[in-house]
């Protein structure tokens, strides 16, 4: 048996994503806090933006989780080793 290079590459990708995924999930937290504090922009137009921002933040967090899961699945689907003759 020998090490599966694709598995190794996928694990490296998994690690890179893992390192950054929290930043992605939190990317819209800063803008949302600013809008919630009401120190930057208030009014009906700001309310619409703030609401939209909330939906996008939820979508972003969902997408980040999905992406992470998809890469985990890709890693799991790949055997760690290959027969010598492959």
């Amino acid at each position: 048996m020998t090490e599966n290079p694709r598995r190794r590459d996928l694990e490296q990708l998994q690690q890179r994503v893992s390192n950054r995924i929290d930043d992605l999930k939190e990317a819209l937290d800063g803008p949302r806090t600013i809008m919630e504090d009401g120190d930057a922009w208030t009014g009906s137009r700001a309310d619409i933006f703030g609401e939209d921002l909330g939906y996008r933040r939820t979508d972003l967090q969902g997408a980040a989780t999905t992406l992470s899961d998809d890469i985990d699945s890709a890693v799991q689907a790949e055997p760690e080793t290959l027969p010598e003759d492959e």
Partner: protein
Amino acid sequence: MTYSSVSVEGLEDLVSKMQTAMMTIDSFTGQLGYSSIKNDMDDLGVTSEAMRTLRLIQDWIHDDELPSLRRRLNLARGLQQKSPNATMLTLDEALVDAMSSEEAEQRGRELAEAFNELGGVNEGFGDLMEDFEELAYDPDAMAGFYAELGPELAAMFAGTLGYPGNNAGDDSQRYLELMSIGLGTALMDETRPGDWYDMNEFFQETDNPVAAWGRLALLQYGDFSDSQFFVQMTVERTALDAFTQDDWADPYSNISAQNLYPHEHHMNVDLPANIAEMAFLTLGKHPEASRQALSGYEDFPLSSFVDRVYEAADYPHDRYELADAFGLAIESGVGAEGDPPRTEHTEEEAAFAFEFINASAGHDEVPYQIKDSLGRIGASYVHEMVAGSYVDDGELPGDRNSSMTDAPNDFPEGVGLEPSFYLSPEITYQFLGSFQDELYLSEPYDNAMGLLLSEQLDAAIQADQAGEGDGNRTQQVMELFGGASQLHYLARREYAADFDAQEEQRRAGVAQFYSSGMAIIPVPGAGHYLYWGFQVVANDKLSDWVSGGPGMEDQVVSENANAEAMRWYMTVQAMIENGVGEDAVPNAPAGLFEDGELKPMDEIFADEQLRQDFYDWVNENPELNGPSDDAQSGWNDGAHGVDTYIGATR
């Protein structure tokens, strides 16, 4: 109509965080062409539906929200100029919808083309300025306008508006102000177009006085608070580089010595004609630029500027107004704005003030036109003036130099004074002396001394009463102020144009002020009376100092009190007001207190029996008598130390 409430700072933060969010998402999607997780996934043949969602969110930020947020921020910056102190601004959302940043920039460019076609302040200029006024607070539009117009024409239009006989006539001032506001607005646009950087030609020297004057005029009225580098570079290259040269006084070869027009009184704008004067006036409005420009020349330090300006104001140059404008530049750089001038400073302001005060104090002859600025600088650095007046026992002139960091030996720390630096007594004496010609020149300083003395005395009495430290803070504070007051008095005596007349004015002021029953606590604008009240030095009755005049017969204080008694009364009153000896108050002789308050000085000194009762009562109560006597000793010790020291120098 839809209105929003916005803050510039908040929107700046929001825009910044939205940009960061977009870049974070892009590090996954790679839509902007940088390496990304998506590239890595493609290489490995991995797919995820999530990428589609991420791209949609990125597009929403990049295409939909950031442009309108940036536009909203830019419009808010324009509005902030009209309401500089407002934290939240009201913004009409229709303005955000009316034009995108690109459309606003295009409108600015079209207007600049119309200026260009007109070729000068000619017939029709007024109509163009009406259009300009509509856009003057729109950073996108103004960045487009100035980028398109270019530096040469911008300066020439401004210069022409200053020139007598131009077609704008009485509107010249208003148009010039608008063009300056517009330039300040343009600099607020963070996403200025690429050709904007042609405007950096302002950072190159010019030998054309109209262009030089025009550049500096464009910096007079707008808000350049976040564009100090632009101001600094323009002022240096346009005028100060030339002013530092050996031919500085030659109008034929040196641009800084030239004027826009030979007869300033004919000019139809409220600005001087001289280029160097315009440069200093500009720095007077821009503190950071002032410090950087006036202390940034390696071979021409701030002291050289002082030497040159003082020389220019003297015979045979007689450029008095240059000293006036230079004084404003220094006031700005040291942070002496406000009424009363601000007394807390940044390290940069204090370092600049230290350099200037030492340089100016080295001159025996100081131009009269800068003396009002010197008085305000003294007022702004009143903590440092008091500290600089401190003389250690046994200290002789020359024993120490001014220092940014080192306190004199045995300097009383922790008594409330917070100097940013320590001047030598000689420098303090000479600097104070340089604005004593007339009483009004020193009034800001005298006011600041009154306020500081009152504040420090109250704090010291309270600290002593609370049992803090050694319990002698009041005495130490009085020693510091006794020294400072005496040094000031001696400087006034040496440098006043007419010392006797000044003394008469001061004493009459003190006598009138306290005769009218005014309290010890200084009221705004009258702090100098308190200071003068403490400062009076002769032991004669105040009436002996005042030669008479209308209303003098009503001045009961002047008729009945002497200086020592007055200072003693004021100290005791400050103690009582701060709760010292409060147990003794119920047993005070009848008539000394009214509604729990010690009667004013004029009433006590007008009645010999009451005055005697007051004196006896204080002496019978050790908690009042001891500290007040110690305070008097402190004051006298401080004054005596200075007398000895200054005597040794003369």
